[in-house]
């Protein structure tokens, strides 16, 4: 299905409108954890898809997940460009909406998001990237491995170590609070 849409979009850019909505939420979540601020997230997500539209003719479909991986690659570059020399302090009011749960206070969710994001950013870059791609990008380990030019075992290792560290950091926060 995705392959068909991609090929169609390469021939007729209008078909991109049927393609991109399938990935917006994942790219959004990934970028949000990278940059924190809602406005920045929206700018970067927009730029990512506009750039994908512009370059889709040069994209080569290489199996399931390849298009999604390509989008994450673009998002990664756009984040890098965007972050040139910027400070990273984000006010809680600027945090994106967290998936709505009627039984949870959005403010509490946002505070927790800020904690997790802060701890994520303290991890080594590779571990951070693997966790983001796994949990928010919905990529399988093999797809992450292909994207980051790693082998699958290394991805599992980064994932495991990163999550352990993250768990410890969050536990410390809970103990202290």
């Amino acid at each position: 299905m995705i392959e068909h849409l991609v090929e169609e979009a390469k021939r007729n850019p209008a078909a991109f409108k049927q393609l991109y909505p399938r990935f917006v939420k994942q790219i959004y979540a990934y970028v949000a954890y990278k940059v924190g601020r809602k406005q920045d997230t929206e700018d970067i997500v927009s730029e990512t898809f506009l750039r994908a539209l512009e370059k889709i003719k040069s994209f080569e479909y290489r199996g399931e997940g390849s298009f999604k991986a390509w989008l994450f690659q673009i998002a990664h570059y756009v984040v890098l460009e965007h972050y040139r020399g910027q400070a990273t302090t984000v006010d809680i009011d600027d945090i994106p909406l967290i998936r709505h749960d009627p039984f949870e206070d959005q403010l509490i969710l946002k505070e927790r998001f800020m904690q997790v994001q802060q701890h994520l950013q303290s991890l080594p870059a590779r571990q951070q990237e693997v966790i983001l791609l796994k949990y928010f990008g919905g990529l399988r380990n093999q797809e992450i491995a292909d994207l980051l030019k790693l082998n699958e075992r290394t991805v599992s290792s980064y994932l495991s170590r990163g999550l352990d560290t993250l768990q410890t950091l969050l536990n410390d926060v809970e103990v202290h609070s």
Binding site: F49, L53, E54, H100, V116, L148
Partner: protein
Amino acid sequence: MTNIHDELNRLTPEPDLDFLSRLDQQIQARIEQEATYSMITMQDNIILLFDVKRILLLAGIFLMVLLSVLLLLTISPSPEDDLSTSLIQTTPTVAAQDSCEVEPQSGWIVHIVTEDDTVETISQRYAVDSQELLDANCLSELEAGTQLFVPATVDYVELVPRRPISVGSTINDALLDTAYFPLPPDNAIPEVLGYAGTVTLKDLPANRPIDPQDVGFTSMEINGQTFTAEEGNVLLYWFGISEYKQDTLLYFEGTIQQTPVYELEDGTGYSPPSQPLARATAQARVVYNDEFKIVLEASIEDAILLTSFRLSNDVLGWTTKQQLTLSAEEISLNAEKLVSEVEFKLRVSVSSCLEGIERFLSCDSLPQDYIIRATVVGVMQPETNAEAETQVTVILWSLDAEVLKWALENNAEIYTVE
């Protein structure tokens, strides 16, 4: 204690509807913009089609007026004149159906019918059913000069500058999307030579300034392979420098990877987590002694408040020499010209992650089977033997610098592939 898996799944940021709506509008606008641009490019005419519907309306009005005028002119006293024939001869044979309204689909562009066009050729070219094409344009047949809407399937002109050499999978993902621009001075070289390792600025100011300022001038020897003078001459020849001598300058522009440390008012340092990129100009100086060396001298104009910088090997590339066994055909192809622009793909098979590679890249990220695109810069001392194959020394240049360098240092197997 909170389970980290549950926590990550719970804390998923989501776009709001307002943003999704705006994004959709942006995408739509870009699609229309590309379609319009494509049409302009395709026709090689500057046709401003910012509002397709408005143009279409105006065209319709114009057509109606034209038809009316022609109708008046054609109704002559001569009874033998065939009205319908006159109309067909003087206007586009667009059989506009009264009940049909042209409503171009999103992403369709305007194609101006040429004399060679037929419904079939246009349908084929734009991958659309011929009846669908006619229906969408309220037409029954075509005539040269007619405008009609077609799906935008023509190739777009690439607006984004690209690097002259395809890097493919590279060791430095962060720099993949940076463009490479050779400097334009008169004696500039078309490509960049040499490999630059980590360069540490000397004579850093004791107190790092808070305001941006030029960090000045530095130089260091490029951490590349040393060539003999003869081989160095071949390299320079390849870079278009025919009269070379001591201190010949090679100009280039590269990308630097900054590790800035901003000094805060309280005296502490602050280093942003990202790795911002900046442009820097630099020049390399040829040094002849018994050996050929290139010394990098970089004037860092854009880099401010740097503690260190690294000229991207991804941009600079690296040059080396390697023994290759080539076929007689390949030898004649390269040796005759001496300086070849033929690209060779090389496959480097690396069996294990040896000590030392960590200096350049993580062992985990080193592919076991790596395709390198390298250019044969020069072929040295070809010694043809009686066999069909000949052993030669070729000088290679590759953008996959660190992998190539490491692979060669560790005697990785290199051979040409199709």
